[in-house]
Symmetry: C2
Subunit: 197 residues, 2 copies
DNA sequence: TCGAAAATACTCGATTCCGAGTACGCGAGT
DNA sequence: ACTCGCGTACTCGGAATCGAGTATTTTCGA
């Protein structure tokens, strides 16, 4: 019965929304969209319904009523239950307080970089650099713009966090490229040898 | 039949290992461990065997022979096939060249931070700061140490990348804490109000 | 030399994920 | 008055995940 606990952040988001007020799943989806949480939390229609179901099974949320608006399909409204608020605050606290290994795609790619030929790797890393520059420029553009500048910073810190990480990534990749180009990085000879035959 | 393509980095790692030489699954696991790739790539026994199977179905790898060492269980040795090397290089190139949205747990947590009371949030964020400091100190310690200092940098860049990101995270969280403490962050009043009633 | 512990090499099945598909209602235009 | 297409609200099934379990074998200390 132990539906996989605390693996899927979407469940956390659902609890957080219901902590505010009761809602039906579709409304959760649109609300998350509106607040641009889809950028920070992996949201997916298919998952949403099964996640809510699993929360109900675990007694963290309860189906409240079945609404019907005109002849539209029924919508089941859910509310958070007492154990649900406990779980929400506890889970969230842990995520905030305890750093965990995060597995990113790029880290995996870096760890296998040796499969590519050195020159090829440099070319691709440079492409990444320019894409990152574009992305950061676009983000800067947004900052002064419309909806974003109206909101208090507190409501989009996650956005700033992501930007900060990207900036670090840009610096890292840039200097990596430089080191390979200047041949100052350790192990380059070995790398070339490996791809010679 | 379209076994989910390019979602699981473990499949990439398997291709990379077989690109070097044929192997059986258990050897892949231990090799990945030895090279400390388990820190960068999510490795899991259960997944490994099904991932290899799925690669075989797609014709990217082929079962080569069934060995038997003494009276130990049989081991099926796999080799990479032509379409497998194409897929490996193509996939890896894309991961290197094109930055993608990475969803981290902490980013999700940040985006829901408002669920916690301000003082509580500060306390937890400070705990994170001290844990991050510990982690970074330990990492620094390792750098000069034993196995790590023997290897050329090229073979553990992913490690440096992770450290660089962590350092940025530390700075970010530290300054966030400070801003909340000094009440200079926008939206703090609203946040307190929300938790008043 | 005997037994305990660690290593080897998987297997299994309950659960979860995910994206395409579906089916209907509503409003804008003509 | 009609239809075209978008928005709404979900369903479905197959694939993927994961961690615990299994059964043997080697190692190593007392």
């Amino acid at each position: 019965m132990a539906t996989r606990q605390r693996s899927n952040p979407l469940a956390l988001a659902v609890l957080a929304l219901l902590y505010e007020r009761p809602m039906h799943p579709y409304e959760m989806a649109t609300t998350l969209r509106e607040r641009r949480k889809e950028d920070s939390i992996k949201l997916n229609y298919g998952s949403l319904y099964s996640v809510v179901q699993s929360l109900e099974r675990r007694g963290l949320v309860t189906a409240q009523e079945v609404q019907r608006d005109g002849r539209r399909p029924e919508r089941t409204v859910y509310a958070i239950a007492e154990p649900g608020t406990v779980e929400l605050l506890d889970w969230l606290s842990e995520l905030v307080a305890v750093p965990t290994r995060e597995f990113t795609q790029f880290e995996a790619a870096l760890s296998l970089l040796a499969c590519l030929k050195p020159d090829e790797a440099v070319r691709l890393l440079e492409e990444r650099v320019s894409r990152l520059e574009q992305e950061l420029a676009a983000a800067e553009g947004l900052r002064g713009h419309s909806s974003m500048s109206k909101l208090p910073r507190l409501l989009y810190i996650e956005w700033e966090y992501r930007i900060a990480l990207r900036r670090t990534e840009l610096e890292f990749v840039s200097s990596l490229v430089q080191e390979i180009r200047e041949e100052t990085i350790e192990g380059l000879a070995m790398w070339r040898d490996f791809h010679q035959q």
